[in-house]
């Protein structure tokens, strides 16, 4: 960004959004917290980044942010992926707030596709970027229909779809964006996190989901019951690649597969870059 463009950003309000827009988003967040898992429509604004690139998450983060916050932004679990860098810079510039890569130091964490490995605490807010908020969209493309299904708590179709998987493949073949039921009422899309992350949806932190293009906000308050859909004879299985991390040796973290040569060589490393780096730091200190 040129100096001129950077100076022009100063003309925008704290955290970019105007106050009326923030109030509208804040009202939606409160209703979302009051009805966990229910998708609250909100008048999403055009943001200076494209729809589908985190505009929902950015609007939520901007609406909850105070000057005292420290924000961490991750994409695929990593702080240094280009879109995460771009969003982090956006908040640095428009809200002049502290940024961090350390999960434990962040008060707001905006994420795409992962929940950090480290358990979050009561003082943290996890903001998810959501592409398609409707868990049943791929079964029923019409919003008018899915809204009715939620209203009537009619989730039979969802179970049928999962069971068809089992009949065909002997397993539920949904590997990410695995649907959950919140507080025994609403079926919710946890955003495209790997199913490995689903158990962490029951958290001490406030979790808010923002879908900008689809104009929806939903939330999971702390200590809220979140159950991954399954069957008695086919229980939910949050398994992951059965390898240790090649860098830090973790056997419990979610792993990325990295192709290291063109001869079939590959290695597995933590997807959560901060988790991996922290472990390495501790190992070095201990050594």
């Amino acid at each position: 960004m040129t100096a001129q463009a950077a100076a022009a950003m100063d003309d925008y309000n704290f955290a970019y959004l105007d106050e009326q827009t923030k109030r509208m988003i804040r009202r939606a967040i409160l209703k979302g917290l009051a009805v966990p898992g229910y998708q609250v429509p909100f008048a999403s604004r055009e943001m200076p980044m494209p729809y589908g690139w985190g505009t929902g998450g950015v609007q939520v983060s901007a609406a909850v942010m105070t000057p005292d916050d420290t924000i961490k932004v991750i994409d695929q679990g990593a702080d240094d992926t280009t879109n995460a860098v771009s969003i982090r810079k956006f908040f640095e510039r428009t809200a002049d707030i502290d940024v961090t890569e350390r999960t434990s130091e962040a008060t707001i964490i905006q994420t795409r596709h992962r929940i950090p490995e480290e358990l979050l605490n009561e003082d943290q807010i996890l903001v998810y970027q959501v592409p398609i908020p409707e868990p049943m969209r791929f079964i029923e493309p019409r919003e008018t229909e899915t809204r009715k299904m939620h209203a009537l708590e009619e989730y039979g179709l969802m179970h049928v779809r999962l069971y068809e998987n089992i009949a065909k493949h002997g397993a539920i073949t949904t590997a990410y964006a695995y649907p959950v039921k919140v507080e025994d009422r609403y079926v919710m899309d946890p955003s495209p996190i790997p199913k490995f992350d689903n158990p962490k949806l029951e958290s001490e932190a406030i979790q808010i989901f923002g879908a900008g293009r689809e104009q929806r906000i939903y939330a999971v308050p702390p200590y809220t019951k979140v159950v991954s859909l399954d069957f008695d004879d086919y229980p939910f299985d949050p398994s992951k690649a059965n390898h240790p991390c090649a860098l830090c040796g973790s056997v419990t973290s979610y792993l990325d597969e990295v192709i290291v040569d063109d001869k079939g060589g590959r290695m597995f490393v933590c997807s959560d870059t901060d988790y991996c780096a922290s472990r390495i730091r501790r190992q070095e200190q201990a050594a």
Partner: protein, 370 residues
């Protein structure tokens, strides 16, 4: 030893610098001015204003320049700017009957009060590349302007209206909902639908309209009238107690006249489709009128034949090119976590299948059992 790739920030900065360089192109070629784009690429400017939902020719020209001529990118720049603007109020509804028409044609009558005004149109040009335009400096001959009309130009549909031959459009006096301030929800009433189509992608609306002409929800449209010109924007100033002129915009308006067979309770009558777009955008205005008419099947008691252009949710959810392009292009972002998740699953399923097959092959009683 493998080290995770760092340096996203530097890569982004470098990419932006390179982009700026590419935008400028060969620096031995003179740089485009905003005025040149505004004046000489006026239809591009009009499209960006229409789909950007902001009437500002200079800003639209700047957006086109910044976007290197990528129209959807330019629309996006305008939208992102527009959404930050404070709202001082709402204007009075514009009166297109009082338009100063540059162009005004009716396909339903040979001649109409107010006249057929051909205006600046490509319609009857021969599409031959004009190589003289490749040379510079020569001014085109001056067009012969007729006497400008000072009195209002009545709408063609009013003549049909007077005879009761066309469905009357009642003003329900309700303030229409505002698509840019409220989330879109269904069922969407006509004002909301028209807003969505007006800012919808020209190509998408054109294809939807075309599909109705080819039989997917056919509704026999005639261009009752198409007019392009300038209308005054008036705003009520509470302190003054009356409305004043605050400016002028160029718009294109199209009203189609469509067949309607009538029903048991209602005599046969023509119906209308309506299109209104910022700037000179005839293709968009006509397309909009056709799509508007197709979406009215329910209120007019027509059959839903399952045509895409009759499907309000389908049309409105997919008309916006800023939304569409963002979501489409977001698949360029890394998805390796989800992909990994699928990779593990497919390996696991394959391993299980192979084990099962091996067990099957090893069993000597398999054939007999079957």
């Amino acid at each position: 030893m493998y080290v995770a790739v760092k340096g996203g920030e530097r890569a982004i900065d470098n990419a932006h610098t390179w982009l700026a360089e590419e935008r400028r192109g060969d620096i031995s070629v003179e740089e485009l001015s905003i005025a040149q784009i505004r004046e000489q690429l006026a239809l591009a400017v009009a499209r960006v204003m229409a789909e950007g939902s902001l009437f500002d020719p200079d800003l639209a020209a700047l957006a086109i320049k910044q976007a290197r001529g990528d129209m959807i990118e330019a629309v996006f720049l305008i939208r992102a700017f527009r959404t930050t603007l404070p709202r001082f109020g709402a204007s009075e509804p514009i009166d297109t009957g009082a338009m100063t028409c540059d162009r005004r044609i009716s396909a339903t009558f040979k001649d109409v009060p107010g006249g057929q005004v051909l205006g600046p149109t490509f319609d009857y040009t021969h599409r031959l590349i004009d190589f003289t335009l490749a040379a510079t400096g020569e001014l085109p001959p001056e067009a012969q302007a007729g006497e400008p009309r000072t009195e209002p130009t009545p709408h063609v549909t009013e003549f049909l209206d007077r005879e009761g031959l066309i469905q009357t459009e009642e003003d329900d006096t309700k303030t229409p909902r505002d698509l840019t301030r409220e989330p879109l929800d269904f069922p969407a009433d006509r004002p909301l639908r028209l807003q969505a189509i007006a800012r919808g992608d020209e190509g998408f609306i054109l294809s939807m309209a075309y599909s109705t002409q080819r039989g997917y929800g056919r509704n026999h449209p005639f261009v009752g009238e198409l007019r392009v010109g300038q209308v005054a924007i008036e705003m009520d100033i509470p302190e003054l107690g009356f409305a004043i002129d605050i400016g002028e915009v160029t718009i294109t308006e199209c009203e189609t006249v469509n067949q309607f067979m009538g029903s048991k309770s209602e005599p046969p009558q023509f119906t209308r489709g309506y299109g209104l777009v910022f700037g000179h955008c005839e293709r968009k205005a006509i397309s909009m009128a056709l799509v508007d008419r197709a979406l009215r099947w329910e209120e007019l008691g027509e059959d839903n034949v399952g045509a895409p252009a009759q499907d309000v949710e389908f049309v409105l959810s997919h008309a916006d090119n800023v939304q569409a392009t963002g979501f489409l292009e977001h698949i360029k972002l890394p998805h390796y976590v989800d992909f990994q998740s699928e990779l593990e699953l497919i390996r696991k399923l394959r391993a299980e299948a192979e084990t099962a097959k091996a067990e099957e092959d090893a069993s000597p009683f398999q054939e007999a059992a079957e």
